[in-house]
């Protein structure tokens, strides 16, 4: 059997249905048994700027995107200008024939630096600055062109269905693009009809129009389009497969592990998680009355963090969800949670900084900031998940860490995960264990919230518990929680809190600290979402007879230096791969293992890494042709 590895790209102005088009395509492919890895790119803009979705499908498990696009569906000029060169020889471009004459100066959303680069290319190839020009290059690259008038399709469809309203319905362009694509690759048409029916199950009328449009366009492609070398007829569907959006992993994890309060302030790319939680705020509880999550939109991230802490003091599992700029505002309170030993979880969907940076783009920029966040010394945990599936189970774990060690936990996620759409095995909530640590249900006799104990963790009361009165303060405090400035007590309290860092390293199981995917002479270390493209790149290198190891570090603070050192003892060359400028993990690694990084592969364009570009860099490293610091640039 020839294995399938097919990337489809759809693009268009923001607000024109790119996302829903990609949703239909992804669902059809997933229904047909393919593994799906889709990624959305968009501007910080509501309507008009260019957005696109690259959906990679395969009959093998995949963890990332690749550079090569096999088929592109575009219904605007900008998509063609920006992506024509990503389509490989033997691939195809379906485009609106009415756009042929559009020149670059007519597309106002083409920003100057991009336009300049494009003009240079067109000039050197002696092509006009128009759609016709770039398509000529594509053709010379061996790309098949499939021009079709989207307007003519709508007109013909209007006539056929005797529904004149359809004629001007440009918002159907996305469905036309998807259906033409599926027709071209000969995907069985039933799955398309079924998927549209499912997506619009609550809007019968809209479902019908979409299905008619899909049917017409699909048939148009099979009847009128020239043969395309790639067909997608379906794969073996694994039972219990989910098609999830990246942010749903932590959200579902929070529901399952009993997070019942989430104050938040809107910020890209984190808010989707809170909105999803609120959309599902009433929870079904086995053998009990319904539960609920109070999702509170606050006036700023400071309030979000304050409310989260206030709620946690009542014994409620509480979290907030934010991105770098919001997390920056929370850091004073992080210290308060630290000194008062309050278990809270901060889910940080990182984006590209500094400051507002690239607000809708990817970056793993906040690692060192998270590790060092807050003034003064206090214990906290920084933990990172590598993909959406991990993030579901990790969410259960980080709430346990918070409760057991009575510390704030920063759970690092990122934009790459948040805006990806992937297939993965159904989450299993029965694997979510719940450990509240020393949270008390009942108190009799004298109680001291910050009592000294053997393991440095005091039994925890909660606001409202009988006989459990305590005081909290951001000042140094005595065992009851009253302010003290006594030097001797200060040292005891500081030592008590900070001893937790050793306890954390002792108690958290090794497999939750770091994951080894094999250690070889050349071994990659990474954290967070870079894991996916690295795994796929390693598979590609295997086919070339090159073995590369990978260690994914999940517990980043306190850093499991001894464990990571032992994992890497047979590695001769260590390669750090991460999406930031300064190789932040590399710094942390060196600090905690006294070992140097030999190479780093970094990306900070704001776009996620593809496995192709990691493959290229790793290969260069093995062939001794690489720079010590490889910087990746792929992606529009």
């Amino acid at each position: 059997m020839i294995s399938t590895d097919f990337t489809w790209l759809i693009g268009g102005p923001q607000g024109s249905g790119v996302e829903s088009g990609a949703n239909i395509f992804s669902r059809v492919c997933a229904e047909m048994g393919y593994h799906v890895f889709g990624k959305r790119e968009f501007y910080s803009n509501i309507k008009g700027e260019h957005s696109y979705f690259a959906v990679r499908i395969s009959d093998q498990k995949i963890h990332s995107n690749v550079n090569d696009v096999k088929l592109m569906a575009s219904f605007d000029a900008e998509t063609i200008f920006r992506h024509y060169d990503e389509v490989v020889s033997g691939g195809g471009i379906i485009y609106d024939a009415d756009l042929d004459d559009i020149t670059t100066d007519r597309v106002h959303t083409l920003d100057a630096p991009f336009r300049e680069r494009l003009h240079k290319t067109l000039e050197s190839r002696k092509k006009p600055f128009s759609i016709a020009g770039v398509l000529e290059i594509a053709k010379e690259n061996g790309v098949k062109l499939y021009p079709v008038s989207f307007k003519a399709i709508l007109e013909a469809l209007a006539e056929e269905t005797e529904n004149s309203r359809l004629k001007g319905l440009v918002r159907m362009f996305n469905v036309i693009g998807v259906s033409l694509s599926l027709g071209l690759v000969k995907m069985p048409p039933d799955s398309l009809q079924k998927t549209i029916g499912t997506i619009f199950s609550k809007k019968q009328e809209i479902a019908k129009i979409n299905q008619q449009t899909a049917n017409y366009s699909y048939n148009y492609a099979t009847a009128k389009f020239e043969e395309f070398p790639h067909t997608l007829s379906g794969s073996q569907k694994e039972p219990g497969t989910l098609l999830v959006q990246g942010f749903q992993g932590t959200a579902l994890g929070k529901m399952a592990c009993g997070c019942r309060m989430q104050p938040y302030y809107p910020i890209t790319p984190a808010s989707d998680e809170s909105v999803f939680l609120e959309s599902n705020e009433i929870l079904e509880i086995t053998d009990d009355r319904p539960g609920s999550t109070a999702v509170i939109q606050t006036e700023d991230e400071i309030c979000a963090m304050g409310m989260t802490i206030g709620s946690a003091l009542t014994g409620t599992r509480s979290a907030t969800c934010t991105s770098g700029p919001g997390f920056a505002l929370m850091t004073e309170m992080l210290g308060w949670a630290g000194i008062n030993e309050v278990p809270v979880v901060i889910t940080n969907y990182q984006r590209s900084g500094p400051s507002t940076g690239l607000p809708t783009r990817h970056g793993q920029d906040d690692l060192l900031f998270s590790v060092f966040a807050g003034h003064g010394d206090f214990p906290k945990i920084v933990y990172a998940s590598g993909d959406v599936e991990e993030s579901f189970y990790d969410t259960g774990n980080v709430f346990n860490y918070a409760d057991v060690f009575q510390v704030p936990v920063i759970h690092l996620m990122d934009k790459f995960i948040a805006s990806s759409v992937v297939t993965c095995p159904r989450f299993d909530p029965s694997k979510i264990t719940i450990n509240r640590g020393k949270l008390l249900e009942k108190i009799e006799g004298e109680y001291e919230r910050f009592a000294f104990t053997e393991d440095g963790i005091s039994p925890r009361s909660r606001l409202g518990l009988d006989n459990g009165i305590f005081w909290d303060t951001g000042d140094e405090s005595d065992e009851k929680g009253h302010i003290t400035e006594d030097p001797v007590l200060r040292v005891k309290m500081m030592d008590k809190r900070m001893s937790r860092l050793d306890l954390i390293l002792k108690e958290i199981p090794e497999e939750e600290k770091a994951v080894s995917f094999g250690v070889e002479d050349y071994t990659v270390i990474t954290w967070g979402s870079s894991k996916g493209p690295i795994l796929d790149a390693i598979e590609m290198l295997k086919k070339d007879g090159i073995s590369i190891g990978l260690v994914q570090i999940k517990l980043l603070h306190p850093f499991p230096g001894d464990y990571v050192t032992s994992l890497l003892k047979d590695a001769k060359t260590i390669i750090d791969v991460e999406a930031n400028h300064s190789a932040q993990l590399g710094k942390l690694f060196k600090q905690n293992t006294q070992r140097n990084i030999d190479y780093s592969i970094l990306k900070y364009t704001g776009r996620a890494m593809t496995s192709t570009e990691i493959y290229d860099s790793l290969k260069k490293i093995v062939e001794n042709k690489a720079e010590k610091r490889e910087v990746l640039m792929h992606g529009a």
Binding site: L243, M261, E281, D287, D288, I302, M305, G310, I432, I483
Partner: protein, 320 residues
Amino acid sequence: MALKMADFKTDVHNDWCPGCGDFGIVNAIQMALAEMGVERDKTAIFSGIGCSGKTSHYINTYGVHTLHGRVLTFAQGAKIANPEMTIVAVGGDGDGLGIGAGHFVAAGRRNVNMTYIIFDNGVYGLTKGQASPTLKLGEQTKSLPSPNTNYNVNPIGLAVASGFTFVARGYSYDVRHLKDLIIQAVNHKGLSFLDVLQPCPTYNDLNTRDWYAGTDLMDEAQKRHSRIYKLEEHGYDPEVHYNEEAEVNERLAQALIKSLEWGNKIPIGVFYKNEIITPYTTRLKDKIPNYLENPPAKQNISKNGISNTNISHILDSLEV
């Protein structure tokens, strides 16, 4: 057994300056809690930073001494998670109306069922007497190198405009009256705000106890003319009685106008009261019907150490 005022005192040494107006406020809070008969472990005092921040340590209930300007954020989180709690937040005017002004306004809009008391003395005491948001433009208290260059915030006006549904002013040297105001505030269904005039004997040499008492206004017969008078003794009706725009607007406007009175006549008492606007807890109940019976803090989240939340219908909808 009914608790007495003494039961609400802790043995923590109180290190406020002798003659500080804060003593009267703490006493009034303790008296009010005893008189209302609240349970100590169902009550929490949240405080900000500054002299007033220490209040929570002097009161024998749950006490949460938070961060500068942020007291309302912590307090609202606790109240929403556990609506059974009686929650009183306290802080200074610098804390609540300077660094915390954003939270003050947002809290008013939310109208969570709790009480916020500002200890209003016109200065930042703990940092040696800088001008605070309620000090008037051009005034120069004793540690200021030059007169205040900022216009003052009007706490009552700001509260009324922000959506607080109970807005009152007390005076820290009229402890009984203040105690009554606190009881009304705590019993109010919604967010109640109390602006308490509290002379700082160390740094505010303008708005002193004598100044409030009007000793400078004595006439020839040595008769005192206290600046402070009580609204309720002058037929002022603060309450919104029925749910009509004209009625609400009239009460709001009246409170706003009254809040501007200052100088030789300073009103205390209730300026505005509106129980027609729903508190936040009710708004949550509209979304989550059993919120009050089964709020976040009461929910059972596990069975034998395993999640008891059934998310299968959501997973089903994501399954392909």
